[in-house]
């Protein structure tokens, strides 16, 4: 597949980054062959990503030549980085050249476009399932070494579905607004490479002038965003900006407030653009559902319908399918993009398909009479913070581990995680917030520490999180 794309679109520009590097599909073809020659065969690589041409070149190489990469953010916290390297023993590290200094023991064997390849002392040979193509973290970064195992079929199938429902063509120019190691950001890259489009790469935030200059100079046609992105855009008076090249905007990574959904749908309608709300998870490669733009205003607040070639349904407590409208059940997805399963250690990379195309999403939803789905809650204890999944029990464990003899309970709503503690020492409260910001790489604004006399528990010692809700701001 990649072979065809690289040949068919050889004269097109594939990647243009904010540092000034521009690569055609033909250059990607040649450079990836060169990089593969250096690696020499199927193995495991850790790729430390940035939204730069060099970073995407590595990714294309790995996918094309069946080298399995673990995609991580180049800004990953050092301790977690070292922990992951120790667990998975990658034979190579692919990283920005400034980062190479941190690994002076390893030999640099290749360098191009600001990225380099280091050979580690770990074995080249790894026992990996033949269909395993890619490993991603589960969008959160709470110190967990858990990775999602994606197959080649998963990646291709999802990219094809996305290109189909977004009606992507060769003249699209999406601009990066999300990290490429984040499943949503990566899905934008995958689906646009598939159609031979040009991807504009930058790590500049949307609050920076450079971002908008890069946007306008290159006539970007689309971008994606998590709920926070759209809140921010509204404050940035986005509705007043002149952006003639912009064709469509997508939203995923958590539920957008219905009001904001409606405002952006209206803006899109009035300006002849499209606003497409979507739904997905790393466990489904990326996308599972989308709300067609023509229904965006009418069905605001909805996550839409299954993507092409996928199927969504609701399951009741007995495991039966709910057929009636407005009854809440667990959302189940079926499709070729349902990933193989998780990996928690090197040996897990040999595991085959554990899900067989069926994913229990853990999200509770209902369906309206027209078959459109609406998320109403979650089965599991996690929050989405700025689009990143954060597991509340894991955060609790991390805090208890770091701060000895502390009693705490974590709860909250998306973009606001509360840590309830039984100490009123302000100093410790600040330390906890900074600890969490450091560990998760997410702004401390998302974390609030609150003092309570005691953590409410039942007779069996189980924390009663519901009783903490009254303390939310």
């Amino acid at each position: 597949m990649i072979e065809n794309v690289l040949k068919q679109y050889k004269d097109n520009i594939a990647l243009s980054d904010a540092k000034g590097t521009s690569l055609t599909y033909e250059t990607l073809d040649q450079k990836s062959a060169e990089l593969f020659d250096t690696i020499g065969g199927r193995t495991l690589v850790f790729s430390f990503c940035r939204n730069e041409a060099g970073s995407v070149l590595g990714y294309v190489t790995f996918l094309r030549y069946h080298i399995v990469p673990v995609l991580l953010n180049a800004e990953i916290e050092t301790e977690l980085r070292q922990q992951l390297i120790g667990i998975y023993e990658p034979a190579f590290l692919y990283l920005p050249k400034e980062m190479a200094e941190a690994f002076s023991d390893y030999e640099k064997v290749w360098e191009s476009y600001g990225y380099c390849l280091l050979r580690t002392s770990y074995a080249m040979e790894k026992t990996m399932y033949q269909e395993l193509g890619l490993l991603l973290t589960t969008s959160g970064s709470t110190g967990s070494p858990k990775l999602v195992r994606q197959s080649y079929r998963n990646i291709l199938s999802n990219a094809e579905s996305i290109a189909e429902y977004l009606e992507l063509t060769v003249d699209e120019k999406p601009i990066s607004t999300l990290p490429m190691n984040y499943t949503y950001g990566l899905s934008i890259i995958n689906s646009h490479l598939l159609v031979g489009a040009e991807i504009l790469l930058t790590d500049e935030p949307m609050t920076s002038r450079h971002f908008w200059e890069f946007f306008r100079e290159n006539n970007a046609t689309s971008f994606g965003g998590v709920p926070f992105t759209y809140e921010m855009l509204k404050r940035l008076r986005f509705f007043l900006m002149e952006l003639p090249s912009l064709r469509y905007m997508t939203q995923a990574g958590g539920k957008l407030s219905p009001e904001l959904h409606r405002e952006f749908a209206e803006y899109a309608k009035n300006t002849g653009k499209k606003f497409i709300v979507m739904y997905g998870q790393t466990e489904a490669t990326a996308r599972m559902a989308y709300l067609p733009s023509e229904r965006s205003l009418e069905k605001y607040g909805s996550m839409g319908i299954a993507i092409p070639h996928g199927r969504l349904w609701l399951k009741d407590v007995d495991g039966n399918q709910i057929k009636d409208a407005d009854i809440v059940g667990e959302l189940v997805y079926e499709g070729e993009n349902v990933t193989l399963g998780y990996a928690e250690c090197l040996a897990d990379l040999a595991k085959e398909d554990e899900r067989h195309g069926v994913l229990q999403t853990g999200d509770m939803a209902k369906m309206d009479a027209d078959g459109y789905f609406y998320i109403v809650g979650r089965k599991k204890r996690f929050l989405k913070i700025y689009g990143n999944r954060v597991n509340l029990d894991e955060v609790e464990r991390m805090i208890k581990h770091e701060f000895e003899q502390i009693e705490c309970a974590c709860a909250g709503v998306d973009d606001r995680l509360y840590v309830f503690v039984t100490t009123d020492q302000e100093e410790i409260h600040t330390q906890i917030r900074q600890f969490l910001a450091g560990k998760t790489g997410l702004n401390a604004k998302a974390y609030a520490v609150k003092y309570v006399m005691e953590i409410p528990k039942n007779d069996a010692g189980k924390t009663l999180y519901r009783k903490l809700e009254k303390y939310y701001d």
Binding site: P205, T207, R209, L236, K445
Partner: protein, 80 residues
């Protein structure tokens, strides 16, 4: 509290730095001043001084010092 003191306090609280450090702070100098911290800073300033900033000013607001210039533009007397 003078306007400059109020302004400085918003910086020290938003980014958890002391007043000395705040005075030389630039966008992305500290981890807390990312795009999320930035929007929070703008919201706090708008609330405190009862103003509504233009998008260009929000985007140009890239340091403590530049911010003073922008606040002045909105009629906030930073010497009062």
């Amino acid at each position: 509290m003078s306007n400059l003191e109020k302004y400085t306090k918003i910086f020290t609280e938003s980014f958890e730095v002391d007043a000395e450090k705040a005075k030389t702070l630039k966008y992305q100098d500290v981890e807390a001043w990312d795009s999320i911290g930035h929007m929070d800073l703008i919201a706090s300033l708008e609330d405190e001084f009862d103003i509504m900033m233009e998008a260009d000013d929000i985007i140009d607001f890239n340091s403590f010092e530049k911010g003073i210039e922008i606040m002045t533009k909105y009629g906030i007397d930073m010497n009062a």
